[in-house]
Symmetry: C2
Subunit: 332 residues, 2 copies
């Protein structure tokens, strides 16, 4: 820890979430695949917004949510992601900095607007995302600050960024910098549709140097093109030294050089909105790993953070996660 400025630095899409409620019929009528993220263009985004009900705006972005979570545990976190010099960009910058995360990426003027995701939450609490990638995918190697990567124990990469070639190059550059500095590389697969689009490249990246892999059940089975979670987990253990695989209500599984640790979910009275569940699980796990805690503790921190985030609207923690973890008897 002593030779780093940050426990974790993340590279991802800087996004403001626009969250509203709808029923399953609305999703079907608008071609939104339930429980997934689909990319939409500016026109589709505007048309869907006009049709959707009243909503709230709240900073999001998968890896950005994870960094807000790491900071909430008391970790030292930084985020690299692109915003425009517009109202949503100002909101994003304010919120991530107010969450205690270092964020120094410059805002861009006169190109695409800040990215936004229309998130539709159904009565069962499931979220379905319709993301208009504005400026955030313009991220290229220019923004990947070498000093920030070098100075962080772990660099965390968001799979969603794979949807643009420039961002892939930025990822590879970040991996090279991290490896040269003796740091660890973590990756989240983000979404099973995203895995479908980039399977070969994800596999290449994982086998080529990912130290910590995050995926949920549908992502990991998609990656290995199998219907069996056990098969996918077995393949994962062959390809990467450490992985945390989440299974929604069934808890998560940590794969540590062949050994398997099962982590239970943290109980929740009512699932209000699942937005950010995976992001916050990653926050707890990354914090635990960065601080050298036992892996079962790291997994428990993930479960606790995920439970907090699904008990309310939005993907940023509403209470200090360090205090929450301590109240549950964890020594962090």
């Amino acid at each position: 820890m002593t030779d780093t400025r940050y426990d974790v630095v993340a590279i991802g899409n800087a996004i403001v979430d626009i969250i509203g409620r709808c029923d399953d019929a609305f999703l079907a009528a608008n071609g939104a695949p339930k429980g997934h993220m689909r990319l939409v263009d500016a026109e589709t985004s505007a048309a869907l917004y006009a049709k959707m009900g009243p909503s709230i705006e709240i900073s999001g972005g998968s890896a950005a949510n994870t960094m807000a979570g790491v900071a909430s545990f008391g970790g030292r976190a930084a985020f690299i992601g692109k915003i425009a010099a517009d109202e949503f960009g100002r909101i994003f910058r304010h919120d991530i900095k107010a969450a205690g995360v270092a964020f120094e990426t410059e805002a861009v003027t006169g190109k695409a607007p800040t990215s936004r995701s229309l998130i539709l939450v159904t009565p069962d609490g499931e979220r379905t995302m319709n993301t208009y990638l504005g400026i955030s995918t313009d991220l290229d190697h220019g923004e990947v600050r070498e000093d920030m990567i070098r100075d962080a124990g772990i660099v965390y990469l968001e799979g969603y960024l794979f949807d643009r070639p420039e961002a892939k190059a930025a990822f590879r550059q970040a991996v090279t910098i991290a490896k040269a500095a003796g740091r660890r590389v973590a990756l989240t697969l983000s979404d099973s549709f995203c895995v479908e689009r980039h399977r070969a490249e994800f596999l290449g990246l994982i086998r080529g140097g990912v130290d910590i892999l995050f995926a949920n059940e549908s992502e990991i089975t998609s990656l290995y093109e199998t219907e069996s979670f056990e098969t996918a987990a077995h393949r994962t253990a062959q390809d990467t030294p450490l992985a945390a695989l989440t299974r929604s209500g069934k808890g998560s599984v940590i794969l540590d050089r062949g050994a398997t640790i099962a982590i239970p979910v943290d109980p929740v009275a009512k699932v209000v909105d699942t937005t950010g569940a995976g992001d916050l699980y990653a926050a707890g796990f990354l914090y635990g790993v960065a601080r050298g805690l036992p892996l079962d503790t790291a997994g428990r921190l993930g479960s606790i953070a995920a439970a907090e985030i699904i008990s309310h609207i939005g993907a940023r923690p509403e209470m200090p996660l360090a205090a929450l973890a301590r109240s549950k008897g964890l020594a962090i």
Copy 2:
């Protein structure tokens, strides 16, 4: 009802709320009077925003919240208020229309931005508002659509608008139109600081033609410069035919031509955020009065709507209020 297009049309500030959490010390350190609304300039707003924690953005504005509530009860509501052609203006328009409220005021380009209120919620759930009035106070008689006023059973005026002379003129014009069409005029005093600033003019307006007055305890005692709620209520009954006076946890009192009806609060498991409590009480009461329901029922609808709104973040209802009222045995 048959000769109207709307049950209620409201004139007020169109505002987007930026809601975050803080402790009492933060309020004190930043000169924000707890539980009140203070007006701040653009510079103070920016400086406070930079200091405050992560926040969420959600459409607000006192009378606009009330109209969203009327619509949620199944009422026909319209809103008149000024927005700029910017991101917050687009959010405001989307949300009020998605709530089922008619809103036809044109957005203004190239002047002040859409108004916003930095709302700080303390651990006790109390909200303290720091409002930067951008374009919304530019409302003048040009925007007061004569046809909308004439076609509504009740015109509802937001006291906050009294902070600009042009808006006062718009109010007087709306009263004249409503009276000529045989409609009723309702007024909310909005805030005790606001009452301090405009006491004489509020009294003139009330005595000169307000049919339904809304105020909370601190506003009504400020209006009549007394420390006794009973004295203030007595004076109110002399000045206006119908009034609903809210007393937070102590419920509300309806003054109907000398008669007094006490309305209990609707119980809430946990007060999360009091933003909009008065606005939503007014929604229930206005809906009841507009539909000719008994006044004690109208008061109960106010209590039910207020209880819903303080049980979550933000001042717009999260569930259909008509269904909520029916689930509590009210025939509406």
